[in-house]
Symmetry: C2
Subunit: 324 residues, 2 copies
C-alpha cells in the first residue's frame, strides 16, 4: 500500500514526463508553468488512494489520476482569466505572465491534453471513465457559471451556495475517488459510496476554505486573509450573514458591499465583525463537522479491510483540519 | 447512398436533438445560438459521406460527425474572442451578444460536449476515434497559436503560412474524412488516403477563402471583401506579395500596413493593386489547382466503386469552385 506522499511522488514524476510538442512554445509553456506551481495534488492523490483501497497495483490509475490533475489546472487557468485573478499559488497567473488570449488557448490545449491522458486508460473501463470525466467536467462548468452569476446577486441562499460549491468543487473530488474505484473494478454500490464520500468531503473542504479566508493564518494559508470579503464573494459566511442579520445590519452590510472605493482593512474588519456578531464561525464549523461525518459514514460502508482505509481516512481528516 | 443534402438534414436534425441541461441558462444558450447559425456543415458532412463510401448504413457515423461540428463551432466561439471578431455568419458573435467570460466558459462546455458526443461512438473504434480527435484538436490549437503569432510578424514565409493553415484548417477536414473511414472499418492505407484527400482539399479551401476575401462577391461570400486586408491578416496573398515585391513596393506596403489610422477603402484598393501588380491571383489559383489535383489523386486511390465516389467528388469540386 502507498502513502499520500508516495502518491504525490508518482504524480509529480508523471507530470514531469508529459510529452509536449516543441512548438509553438507560447502554447505549451503556460501549461508547464501552471503544472509546476506547488499545488496540493489532492485530486490525483484521491484517485490513486481510492484504487489502492482495493488492490496493491495502482499503475493503471496513474493516467486517469494525471488526467484529473491536468483538468483541474485547466479550470484554474480559465477561471483566473474570468475572475481577473492576478495570483495563483503565490505566483502570477498565466494571463498575467503571458496574456488573456494565451491563457484561453493554452487552457483549451490543456483540456484536450486532459482528455488525451484519460484516453490512455485501460480499454475495458475507458468509456466508463470518459463518461464520468465528461459529466463531471460539464458540472464544473455549471458551477463556475453559477459562481460568476452570484457575483452580482445579493440574495443567494445557502441552498444555492451549496449547490454551486457541489458543482464547482465537490463533484471533482467525488469523481476522482470514483475513478480510482472504476480502475480497480469496484462494484456500482461501492462506486457510489466513494462518490458520496468525495462529495461530502468536497463540500466540507470548500466551507473550510471559506473559513480560512476569514480566520486563517495568511502565512500558512498562502493567500491573503479576507480576499473573499474584498471581492464580495458569495461564501458560506456572506450568504448566511445576509440571511440571518437584522434589517439594520443588512442595510449597513449591503451599503458596505456596494461601495466602489473602500479601505481594504476597514472592510475586512467590519465584515468579519458582522460574522462574529451572528456566530458564523460556529455555524461553519458545525456544517463542516456534519458534512465530514456524512463523508465518513459513506466511507465506512465500503467493504474493504479497515487497515486498507487508514491512508485515505487520515488524508480526509487532515484535509478538513488543514490550516492551508 | 446519401447526397450532400441528406447529410445536412441528418446533421441539422441531430443538432436540434442535443440534450442541454435547463440550467444554467447563460451557459447553454450561447451553444445553441452558435450551432443554430447557418454554417456550411462541411465537416460533419465529410464524415458521413466518407463512411458512406464504404457502406450504406451511416448511422454509426452520426455521433462522430456531430462531435466534429460541435468541436468546430467551439473553435469559432473561442477564436472570435481571441480575434475580437464582432460578426460570425452574419450575426453578432457570442462574446458580443453575451460577454467574453460567457464565450470562454460556454466554449469550454462545448469542447466537453464534443468529447461527450464522440464518446457515444461504437466501443470497438472509440479509442481510435478519440485519439484522432484529440491529436487533431491539439494541432488546431497549434494552428490558432501560429495564426495569432503571425499577426505581429511581417516576415512569415509561404511555408510557414501553409503549415499554419494545415494545422488550423486542413487537419480537421482530413480527420473528419478519416473518422468516417474508421467507423466504416476501412484499412490503414485507405484511412491515410482519406486523410491526404482532406488535408489537400483543406489547404485549397483555405487559399480559396483568402482569394474570396480579395475578389469575392460580398453578397455571395457573406463577409465584407477586404476584411483580411484591413486587419493585416497573413494570407496566401500578403505573405507572398511581401516576399515577391521589390524594395520600394515593400517599403510602401509595410508603411501602409503599419498605419494606425487609415481609410479602409483606400487601404483595400492599394493593397489589392499590389496583389494585381505581382500576379498573385493567378499564383493563388495555380496553387489551389495543384492542391486540388493532389487531393483528387489521393481520393482516386481509394478502392471503392467509382459510383460510390460521385457525391464526395462533386462536393469537393464545389468546395473549391465556391463563391461563398
Amino acid at each position: 500500500m502507498i502513502t499520500f506522499e508516495n502518491a504525490l511522488e508518482i504524480i509529480n514524476e508523471k507530470i514531469k514526463e508529459i510529452p509536449y510538442p516543441k512548438e509553438p512554445k507560447n502554447l505549451y509553456a503556460p501549461i508547464q508553468y501552471i503544472l509546476a506551481l506547488k499545488g496540493k495534488k489532492i485530486r490525483p492523490a484521491l484517485t490513486l488512494l481510492a484504487c489502492n483501497l482495493f488492490q496493491d497495483d495502482i499503475s493503471k490509475a496513474i493516467y486517469p489520476a494525471l488526467a484529473w490533475e491536468i483538468f483541474h489546472n485547466f479550470t484554474l487557468m480559465h477561471d483566473d482569466v474570468m475572475d481577473k485573478a492576478a495570483i495563483r499559488r503565490g505566483k502570477p497567473t498565466v494571463h498575467k505572465v503571458w496574456n488573456e488570449n494565451t491563457a484561453m488557448l493554452s487552457g483549451d490545449a490543456m483540456l484536450i491534453l486532459a482528455y488525451r491522458t484519460m484516453t490512455k486508460s485501460e480499454p475495458h473501463c475507458l468509456k466508463q471513465l470518459l463518461d464520468l470525466f465528461s459529466a463531471t467536467a460539464a458540472e464544473i462548468c455549471d458551477g463556475q457559471q453559477y459562481d460568476m452569476e452570484f457575483e452580482t446577486r445579493m440574495d443567494v441562499t445557502e441552498a444555492e451556495y451549496l449547490q454551486m460549491i457541489r458543482l464547482k468543487t465537490a463533484v471533482m473530488l467525488g469523481a476522482c475517488l470514483k475513478t480510482g474505484g472504476i480502475v480497480a473494478g469496484a462494484d456500482i454500490e461501492t462506486l457510489e459510496q466513494l462518490y458520496d464520500f468525495g462529495i461530502n468531503l468536497g463540500l466540507a473542504f470548500q466551507i473550510r476554505d471559506d473559513l480560512l479566508d476569514v480566520y486563517g493564518d495568511p502565512h500558512a494559508f498562502g493567500k491573503i486573509t479576507g480576499g473573499d470579503i474584498l471581492c464580495n464573494k458569495k461564501t458560506f459566511f456572506l450568504v448566511n450573514v445576509l440571511e440571518f442579520c437584522d434589517e439594520n445590519d443588512k442595510k449597513n452590510l449591503l451599503f458596505r458591499l456596494s461601495e466602489p472605493n473602500f479601505d481594504p482593512n476597514e472592510k475586512i474588519i467590519s465584515v468579519t465583525a458582522m460574522y462574529e456578531k451572528y456566530g458564523l464561525k460556529a455555524l461553519a464549523e458545525d456544517k463542516i463537522t456534519k458534512l465530514y461525518d456524512k463523508a465518513m459514514r459513506a466511507f465506512e460502508l465500503i467493504h474493504v479491510p479497515t487497515e486498507r482505509k487508514t491512508v485515505l481516512y487520515n488524508f480526509a481528516e487532515q484535509l478538513i483540519a488543514r490550516e492551508s
